[in-house]
């Protein structure tokens, strides 16, 4: 296995091997899981097998996270540049791009050409959407990089879930506004994931479009221009999805609608758990403090990190957005989710249970220590939350102050 040598500040030589080097390829093959269900169906004739990937994502993945546990190992800082420069890791992110197309086209073709029940047909649309949600994650990893190739691949892969605006709004909007009430992609305490989705999905699109429109207007053109990076990706989406409708018939319209919404829902789920309730403070000039390690929820669970390009080491990602997945670090005492992302999603889908687990964790964070004024709270839940968790020494909530604005830019 390849190793890296470096020198610590103390002058001591250090040698590092990434024990997960080969295992990162799981992020590449994971979007192919719909074909496992299809293969089992062809062997047994039992339609329920087609839905197996739902169980893989929401039962097996949390179970594996629990069984395999967490990995807190970090690469030494002295070798991070070498690790980042190792082309093997970026080739994995390139390789998965066509796999997302194979996954959608393959599942759509199979569903559209076999006599299966309506529920199995729509179930396959859901499963294809789960796989394409991983495509947004691929776009996330690629979209933070500077190279022309990686940015082009970002636009290509985001065409699969029809989410071409994502990398612009995420890089230029979410990373700027994260953990503030101004960010439609940061969830508030007391806000259910379902309410969050209604704010996040349209809010993120509007913000992404506005950012791109502003850039093009500075260049002296309108947003409706071939240089619009959102439209470039959306044009490919149109070719892909219209092609599927033409090739496989009108039945593809509901299939693709369900697929697209399910893919978006995966991102919504990730956004929801990543910053729930966390709030950056303002300085005397009204400027938000820089995003700190305690402004993201993290998880070191091994399996889900291996299939999500280390997305769950989220604090380091926000501190250093261009840092490649293999180099992201764990930090002591950062906000920690109770499970990896897939298990946390399950928890989020049951809001009362989510609040029960997460509100307590939120209030116990060292930088918050029960102070509700340091939490990003859903304005509609402020009175209720202050009544439930407020301390006598805390200011009473004032409507319109700090974290009571409605956010979506």
């Amino acid at each position: 296995m390849k190793g890296y040598t470096g020198t610590l500040k103390s002058g001591e030589a250090v040698y590092y091997q990434d024990k997960k080097r080969l295992l990162w390829s799981l992020s590449v093959i994971y979007p192919l899981q719909p074909f496992i269900g299809i293969w089992l169906y062809t062997k047994t004739g039992v339609e329920a097998w087609l839905l197996l990937p739902i169980g893989l994502s929401y039962i097996l993945a949390p179970l594996l996270d629990w069984l395999l546990g967490e990995d807190e190992n970090n690469p030494p800082e002295a070798v991070v540049l070498q690790l980042d420069a190792d082309r093997y890791y970026r080739w994995l992110t390139y390789t998965v791009v066509p796999i997302h197309f194979v996954s959608l086209i393959g599942v759509a073709w199979w569903a559209g050409t076999h006599a299966i029940s309506t529920w199995a047909f729509l179930g396959l649309a859901v499963i294809a959407g789960l796989a394409s949600g991983l495509g947004i994650n691929t776009g996330h990893e690629l979209g933070h990089k500077k190279s022309r190739l990686e940015r082009t691949l970002t636009k290509i892969v985001l065409a699969v879930p029809v989410y071409g605006h994502f990398w612009i709004e995420h890089n230029r909007g979410h990373h700027r506004d994260v953990a503030t009430p101004d960010d439609p992609a940061s969830a508030r305490m007391g806000e259910s994931i379902f309410k969050f989705a209604m704010r996040e999905i349209p809010g993120a699109f509007r913000r992404g479009w506005q950012i791109e429109k502003d850039r093009l207007e500075r260049r002296g053109t309108t947003a409706w221009n071939t240089n619009n990076q959102i439209l470039q990706s959306m044009a490919l989406s149109l070719v892909l999805q219209l092609g599927l409708v033409i090739a496989l018939g009108l039945q593809m319209i509901p299939f693709l609608l369900v697929h697209n919404v399910m893919a978006w829902w995966q991102l919504t789920s990730a956004n929801y758990v990543e910053h729930y309730g966390l709030l950056r403070e303002k300085d005397a000039n009204g400027r938000y403090e820089r995003c700190q390690q305690h402004h993201s929820w993290n998880s070191n669970h091994i399996f889900s990190n291996l299939v999500l390009f280390h997305l769950e080491r989220h604090s380091d990602h926000h501190a250093h957005p261009l840092r490649r997945y293999q180099s992201l670090r764990h930090f002591e005492k950062v906000p920690a989710l109770p499970s990896g992302y897939f298990g946390s999603y399950l928890l989020a889908y049951v809001p009362w249970l989510w609040y029960r687990v997460m509100d307590k964790r939120l209030l116990q964070l060292a930088h918050i220590d029960g102070d509700l004024n340091k939490i990003n709270i859903d304005p509609e839940k402020r009175q209720k939350i202050y009544a439930k968790y407020g301390r006598p020494d805390q200011l009473q909530p004032v409507v319109g102050q700090n974290n009571s604005t409605d956010g979506a830019a």
Partner: protein, 54 residues
């Protein structure tokens, strides 16, 4: 004409070159960039965070 560097990711804004992709014409002074300007590459450093390098 000066250059300004993002302390996080190393992006350089060169006043002589501007940044055509971002819509800042050659010769645009750093001071004339919008107040909400953030690093086009990493977005986590604002205009006031940039360091003058030459």
């Amino acid at each position: 004409m000066s250059q300004y560097r993002c302390p996080e990711c190393g992006y350089i804004y060169d006043e002589e070159l501007g940044d055509g992709f971002e819509g800042f014409a050659p010769g645009t002074p750093f001071a004339d960039l919008p107040s909400e300007f953030a690093c086009p590459d990493c977005s986590v450093r604002d205009k006031e965070d940039f360091e003058k390098v030459s």
